[in-house]
Point group: C2
Chain length 543, copies 2
């Protein structure tokens, strides 16, 4: 990839003999040893690298790096041997990747994964099954159905008989795997849209006849989706994709705890009712672990409102879902079983490698509303899992999760989750203790936001009028943006940033530092070092 | 997973010490050796298995297997150690997976992959980057942009200056990676829909305001997508998802070579023109390697028609795209550079592990029509690749492709592609030579279809009238269905089946056996063995 790497000593030629060596799995001891040596290079090379670089390794700026990767011609002959490519990846590429496994990397929802996850992913790649159809996956389709049932049961807690009926039923589906939470949310809202715009008279349903015919058939002028201001941006993407229009995702105000404000939601529903059916709600989306603040909407109350109005209820638990594995904190997601569908990400708090999302449906028949068949696969009545998914061909990511659950047990996961929440709480206490900082959102789960806010400005803010407050916040916003960038560029630790809105007012943006505590090696000591560094950046640049 | 496996000797406990051992990458020699031993188990265990089972390993029926995977409770404590899980996977699970790497597995587009692909996937998993945002991927985002430019250049052959401008331009995108071809086709049609229903006056565009407002603003009543009968079913799925309605994917008849019939397409366009703009075409889709027959539409002529009518032109080259890497056969895709967008799958003829798709756009600004931003990532002006993709968080699959291109060179790939096409042609000749078989579609690429058709029925068919022909075909259809299932169940080799339609008539279905020759170890000798087996099944069951 990099133009600067020295050329291979001997010219490499693509010929049939080499190809055969590459394809035929090594049968003699020499080849076996080579194959194995390569894997050693990967495992130990990357291991050493990850150990050495505690931070996010900003050794070269993006722009500088970009200048080195500009060759756009595919060479006719091999440029490098596998061993050279691996060596490059370990020594040239990895140092410019982001060490998301560092305990000092607390800025995003990507973190260290247990090392066995790499082994499991290797197995998945080596088997190369395609779970789209049983003819290319067989037992993996069955394992996928089983693990879907396990997570469904964790969420919906239906009776045993229900699971006995559906766990391996080819005619029903308890959920599906996707590439990530975005596709999971899209799948849920796709089902919700088709549920509202269901077949009626001559109208064959939205999937077949389209949104326009659907609105006509049902006498609707506008469809909307309701979610709090903290809804993930994939929901707007879903509405745009589904032909609803992303402006029809209505942002409901949040309360002081960053949960959807029920009074605002109810007012919105009254406004909608006043249209006498001309505006209809496709879905209300509850959030279980908001991306920015980790907050959890009042799930039971949302369920009640949805039931009262006959509205589809989706819960985006991409982040918070696995909290259900914790006996101590599972109750925070009380009411989640009342949802019609729930998004859970594998690559977040189930600590799977990128990218794995899932969506679960209470009604095991509802995915029929997005079912597709073909002549050569996904035939009616087959167990082909591709019948009821957004994607077609798909890797057997379910094998990774199924195995991880066996290796970790729910207690293993709950230790991780409890560590994250407990550490976030201690971190919040530290932030409150330090005069230079202001905790902006308390950690409900393991996410919190705060900002650098010198004591004198804190005092000024308390007595400031609206205009003064805005001026002070604008100053703080610039400063926090600057501190976040300087710390990131420093390359030792990484905290992300986002913008929240004071009292739901778009005129009162508050730039905050955001930290996500999911790495079990992230200790309070490390978090204090991160705060120390921020204090130093403040002193060096803003005093 | 399997209830029948013996319990671990010692009760496993999930505690913090174990977790630490799992998360902290092994630092002492003992741990290193363990980590490594596990990988050895995987590489050699699976290797031995794949060598031993030449066929598709139907040792237990799906139903029987399903009965063993019905436990839906997540256990609190670990059920198994990693070594036990790996041992299970190798000895209990793999034998019930499908050996897609077998040279006798010629039924689907999933096949053997070069062993180095497993290494590359392992690296990708170990680095665990999320290319959604540069803050969690850095150099991997840059590598992705580079490899996108390389494939774009292979397809569109724009001048060097064009690539110099765009290869690392954060404001433009030459394409994007997806989970597979379905999501790639969806992305292309999403862009096409938004291009037709563009902002106009008060209308802010389809993405923001929705399909209904879009049709109103443009004075349109119906939007359609045109593709031949052999279009992949993901196109119908896309139309359903996008709110267009899947009945608005109009199937155009094919000619004797299974290419879109241009006269039929032109007639359809005349009918649409007669609506005076009330019906509009979102896109015409050309196929470069039809899933069922491998046929290639007349791409230059389709380009001409699209240009004449100002219609968006998408080419689904999920299968055929990599043929461009072959000097000998690249010309078969002549005219592909005239498309507005092109789908290419990585996990098909680029021999990457499941699941990798890509979509390329001639206009590097067009993906702006589906761009999304958020407050914490994907900010305006950033290099975050998640701004212009259907998915959010995404693994760095681009690293696998970038490395594979270095290891293989275009000649390496072209050897594989040329082997497939040449072998398919010889296979077709064998089929024609055998009296019991009838070649139904000639291999244009490396896919062909045929059926068992005894000589006496062949003779009868020649002089039969319509009704007699249908009766004979119905008999042959049943028989070929039966032979395909019996061969599959036999577990030595696998050919798939699909249904084609004689002279585009839905009343004249022809069930065919379909073979996809992509495994470089699939030789004519093996193909003859597969035909021999089919003859034997015929003699044993249908004589």
């Amino acid at each position: 990839m990099e133009a600067s790497t020295p050329p291979a000593k001997k010219k490499l030629i693509a010929d049939w003999k080499t190809l055969n060596r590459i394809f035929i799995r090594p049968e003699d001891d020499d080849n076996r040893r080579a194959l194995f040596k390569h894997m050693e290079q990967i495992l130990f090379g990357l291991h050493d690298f990850l150990q050495k670089h505690v931070g996010i390794t900003e050794e070269a700026s993006l722009k500088e790096l970009a200048d080195r990767f500009t060759d756009t011609l595919i060479q006719p002959h091999p440029e490098k041997r596998l061993s050279e490519v691996i060596s490059d990846l370990v020594h040239q590429i990895a140092p410019h990747a982001v060490n998301v496994a560092s305990p000092y990397f607390i800025g995003h929802m990507t973190s260290a994964i247990p090392y066995f996850m790499v082994h499991l992913k290797t197995i998945t790649a080596a088997l190369n099954q395609n779970v789209n159809k049983a003819e290319t996956s067989k037992v993996l389709s069955i394992i996928e159905k089983q693990v879907l049932a396990k997570i469904h049961r964790l969420i919906f807690k239906m009776p045993t008989a229900f699971y006995d009926e559906h766990v391996q039923n080819p005619a029903t589906a308890l959920g599906c795997f996707t590439e990530g939470g975005t596709l999971a949310n899209i799948t849920a809202l796709w089902v919700a849209r088709n549920s509202l715009l269901a077949p009626k008279g001559d109208f064959n349903g939205c999937e077949q006849d389209g949104v326009v015919a659907g609105l006509q058939a049902h006498g609707i002028e506008r469809c909307v989706i309701l979610v709090s201001r903290l809804g993930h941006f994939s929901l707007r993407k879903a509405a745009g994709l589904l032909g609803i229009g992303n402006r029809n995702v209505l942002s409901i105000d949040v309360d002081a705890g960053n949960r959807i404000k029920l009074s605002a939601l109810k007012q919105c529903l009254r406004d909608i009712q006043a249209t006498q059916g001309r505006t209809r709600v496709i879905a209300i989306v509850g959030i279980a672990g908001a991306t920015e603040t980790g907050s959890i909407d009042p799930l039971p109350q949302l369920a009640e409102i949805c039931a009262e109005h006959g509205i589809y209820y989706h819960v985006d638990a991409a982040w918070g879902g696995p909290t259900l594995l914790s006996e101590k904190y599972g109750h925070l997601l009380e009411g989640i079983h009342l949802a019609d569908s729930v998004t859970v990400d594998g690559h977040k708090q189930l600590y799977m490698p990128m990218g794995c999302g899932m969506v679960y449906f209470k009604n095991p028949h509802i995915l029929e509303r997005i079912a597709y068949h073909a002549r050569y696969i996904a035939r009616q009545g087959s167990v082909d899992l591709g019948i009821r998914t957004l994607s077609g061909s798909r890797e057997a990511n379910s094998l990774v999760l199924a195995s991880a659950l066996q290796i970790m047990g729910s207690r293993g996961y709950s230790l991780l989750i409890e560590h994250g929440i407990a550490t976030a709480k201690s971190f919040a206490a530290q932030i409150k203790k330090r005069p230079l900082f202001q905790l902006v959102t308390e950690p409900r789960l393991n996410i919190l936001t705060y900002r650098v806010c010198p004591p004198e400005i804190k005092a000024e803010l308390e007595s400031a009028d609206t205009l003064q407050r805005r001026r002070l916040n604008a100053y703080l916003n610039d400063m926090n943006r600057g501190i976040q960038v300087l710390q990131r560029e420093g390359g030792v630790s990484f905290v992300s940033r986002t913008t929240l809105y004071e009292k739901n007012s778009l005129e009162d943006p508050i730039v905050v530092l955001r930290s996500v505590i999911m790495n079990p090696l992230t200790t309070l000591k490390i978090l204090n070092e991160i705060l120390d560094e921020q204090e130093k950046i403040y002193r060096d640049n803003y005093l």
